[in-house]
Symmetry: C2
Subunit: 204 residues, 2 copies
């Protein structure tokens, strides 16, 4: 079945990860998020925490990267550790895509799989008040902390994406369909998206 390898990028608190999970369930295909981290960690022998931190907590700087280039942290082409982590994750993403239809969340998967025309790329976002509410409800944060988490997490996601892809995170042209999740609610999003996937599969 072509056309149902799906990558998902999403704002923090948009419910995008949950939409992806429910969509995968509806389509009966694997869902890769933290699972992907574990697979990458097992493959590389690096600690799992390195992969968790890759998208969340590291500041990416070209200068840093250049200054590290060629120094001996050992192994993969003398690249800095953060770049090795990215490359290992990218390999895993390509491998799971080769295995067939699936949903992959985050980790620049849209960029990693950009040359395959049987992959669709979604971006999910919402209004700030809904995202704050969701962060409070599902992550147990107080309002102020929720707002901070939203700002900080999205800044990190954008920095990570922009650094590794040379593109702009959340730029419309990088996705086939972008959706404000709360404009219709999670379940309706899943319906609209599975309708889209069905059309895509029919076209291919």
């Amino acid at each position: 079945m072509s056309g149902s390898i799906i990558t998902i990028s999403r704002q923090y608190g948009s419910g995008g990860r949950f939409v992806g999970k429910k969509l995968a369930e509806k389509l009966g295909i694997p869902f890769y998020d933290n699972e992907l981290i574990s697979m990458a960690a097992k493959e590389s022998g690096f600690a799992e925490s390195l992969f968790e931190n890759a998208e969340k907590n590291t500041t990416y700087s070209l200068l840093y990267s250049l200054s590290m280039f060629g120094t001996s942290s050992g192994g993969m082409y003398g690249l800095p550790l953060s770049d090795k982590v990215f490359l290992i994750q990218s390999d895993i993403i390509k491998k799971v895509a080769d295995q067939g239809p699936c949903v992959i969340v985050g980790r620049c998967a849209d960029y990693v799989l950009r040359e395959r025309n049987d992959v669709v790329h979604f971006f999910f976002y919402s209004d700030i008040e809904n995202r704050v509410e969701r962060a409070m409800k599902y992550y147990g944060l107080e309002e102020k902390k929720a707002k901070e988490a939203i700002e900080k997490t999205d800044k990190k996601r954008a920095a990570y994406y922009n650094y590794y892809t040379g593109e702009r995170w959340g730029e419309i042209k990088n996705y086939h369909l972008s959706l404000n999740t709360d404009s219709i609610g999670i379940d309706a999003c899943v319906d609209v998206l599975s309708n889209y996937i069905e059309a895509k599969n029919t076209k291919n």
Copy 2:
């Protein structure tokens, strides 16, 4: 019926206008594009061509606007003509929205109706090769001219939108749903969007 006032922004050659027209037909609601220009022209007494040119051929400059502010081209608050045209069009957009469900293409309608929560905003785009092909097929342009028209028209649309709204044309957050039309084709887009509208109406 709430939730089915629809605004459409679109790249030149994306087929977005056509998607809007077919969507309006499917939903059985009015479609406003050139019709809107005629209504505005009749209302104001200005020539129809002024409204046609508003989005297509005028260069917008804040300095120009400031320099014109207060000079006597007569009538509406001493504003430059281009701003009067925008205000008249905005009034018409608000009036047709007040009349009930409809599809409105272009003319910053998303911004004009931003305070209504019963309006959904769509953005349509496509890959450059598909847009060139469409411009050649439907507008009878040669390849080079088609590419020029795409670049020029979108630049003008962006300048017009950015000038009058203070927002960025094609910025994901300004729309509820954005769609690469050629990823599934025009008819499938109409299906996915009417599915979205149905969900939106159910939610309200």
